[in-house]
Amino acid sequence: MNLLLEDVVVAAGDHPLHFNAHFTGPSTGLFGPSGAGKTTLIELVAGLRRPERGRIVLDDVVFCDVARGWHLPPEHRRLGYVPQDGALFPHLSVEGNLRYGARPAARAGQLALSHVCALLGLETLRARPVATLSGGEQQRVAIGRALLAAPRLLLFDEPLTSLDASRKETLLPYLRRVRDALRVPLLYVSHAPAEVQALCDELAVLADGRIAQLGPTTEVFRRPADAAVARIVGVETVHPARLREFVGALAAVQVGPTRLLGLADQLPAGTDEVMVSIRADDVMVVKSATPPPASARNRLPAVVRDITCEGAGRRVELDVGFPLAARLTPQAVAELELAVGSPVYALVKVSAVHLMPGTLPS
């Protein structure tokens, strides 16, 4: 995929959205809280919405160039759009829906109806009216319908959101199959970290109507660009700090009364105010009265403030001079006999202390 959004401005609600990005995919996630403009971005690419300014180009096809008064109608963009609710045509059967936008198989690169049905498990559904399908089946038909249009790019707008947890689990493998078997580039909107981590090579984080960070998915989750992105991708501890000194390749920062060591290469020169982000998964807890011997360079005396259930794990809120969250297994919590008030040590590797320029977002 080679999708370019150049200075694209569109009014949505009271504040304008402003997109500047070059997506290379092959599957790109659009991630962010609701209202950040994810769906608007998808609709701009699909041609269902016209920007007030800017250019949108996919490969060598100019979709939209406001300065030249050019707007390619959606029917000429050759995209496969799957909206949140599937939007199957209610007056047509499954087969009718699948065939609505189908292009001749030859042009579609052997993407025949039977092939798509096999891929998405639709063989037995073909004659059914769409009203009788379950939510997951409807989504699969919507995906099949989009695929049969032989799209240059697939646009998925939160295709799993309307499904319950178990149905999500069953649909996700189909999405992976579509991505891997057909190699159609994918633009995938979601606000669920698990989905974009499972499906997307590249991730764009949307915040306040702009793209706050664009990069490889693992990189964005590990190294958010700023505090706002860190919050959006779900980093548990985000705290302002002051840069004190450089110790070789390491940077020492002061967070409240506590001194932390992090990797210095993440900081531009001349930074003073920084933000620290630490994932709860990267924090180890040791029951000890004195600093335990360990390779981790950050060994912080801590007091347990709270322990809560979080799925199959336990989230332990520590006080290390600032609030620090750790995620442990229930077994670890039991073995260490952790309770509110327990004195412990928190161990954090230097590489897990992510330093970002900037101050706390208001």
């Binding site: 041609g47 269902l48 959606p74 029917e75 963009r77 759009y81 939007a87 007056h91 936008g101 009216p129």
Partner: protein, 221 residues
């Protein structure tokens, strides 16, 4: 009674013609009102709704002034199209069409508003141009509401009296519909004849409603 049969067929023919005449424009106007924002929308909306609230006789009078010998549209029709309208069967069609139009437009508007634009948008992304999206998605999804509107308009055209008597008058063999004749026969004291006309009117209305019910129930998704 050949007179009764002739009047019945004439009424049916006029109502059908009037409905067909307003169908494309009425549906298009309903769609424009439901889906698009445009300058002068409120004015057009009001003009179309006017025959619903103004007394039919008044509407007929306005039409008479417009389409009469010296009316601007009457002159246009006579000179350019070679059509003489007032006090002919064409006047009956015109009057009933104008009176039926608001019902069709309103029904069409509501019918289109109930179709989520999402379906058309998805159809467009699947390669359908605006016309194909309209005829394969919007129109079939709105068909129940549209059909109800057509039946309503047809029924209105069948029974129109006020505007018709103004514009077409009571001219034997030329403009007499069931409604006009009921009034005329009662005026003459021919209660039996009026009763027969009444029975036919009720029968036609009943038939139209039954037909629409049947059409609506058929092939329900």
């Amino acid at each position: 009674m050949p007179d009764l049969l002739r009047i019945t067929l004439f009424t049916l023919g006029v109502a059908t013609l009037a409905t067909l005449l307003i169908l494309p424009g009425g549906v298009a106007l309903g769609w424009l009102l439901a889906r698009r924002q445009w300058r002068g929308k409120v004015i057009v909306e009001t003009l179309v709704a006017l025959p619903l609230v103004v007394p039919p006789v008044a509407t007929g009078l306005v039409l008479l002034k417009l389409f009469g010998r010296r009316g601007p549209l009457g002159v246009f029709c006579e000179r350019v199209l070679g059509l003489e309208i007032v006090f002919t069967w064409k006047a009956v069609v015109l009057a009933t069409a104008v009176m039926a139009l608001p019902l069709l437009v309103r029904a069409a508007r509501v019918a289109f508003e109930e179709v989520p634009p999402r379906f058309e948008q998805v159809a467009r992304t699947l390669g359908a141009g605006p016309w194909r999206a309209f005829f394969t998605i919007t129109l079939p999804l709105a068909r129940r509401g549209l059909l109800a509107g057509v039946v309503l308009a047809f029924a209105r055209a069948l029974g129109e009296f006020g505007a018709t008597i103004m514009l077409a008058g009571y001219i034997p063999g030329e403009t007499i519909t069931l409604a006009l004749d009921i009034y005329h026969q009662v005026q003459l004291g021919h209660d039996a004849a009026a009763g027969g006309l009444l029975a036919v009117s009720v029968g036609l209305a009943f038939g139209a409603l039954a037909l629409s019910e049947w059409l609506l129930r058929r092939k329900q998704p």
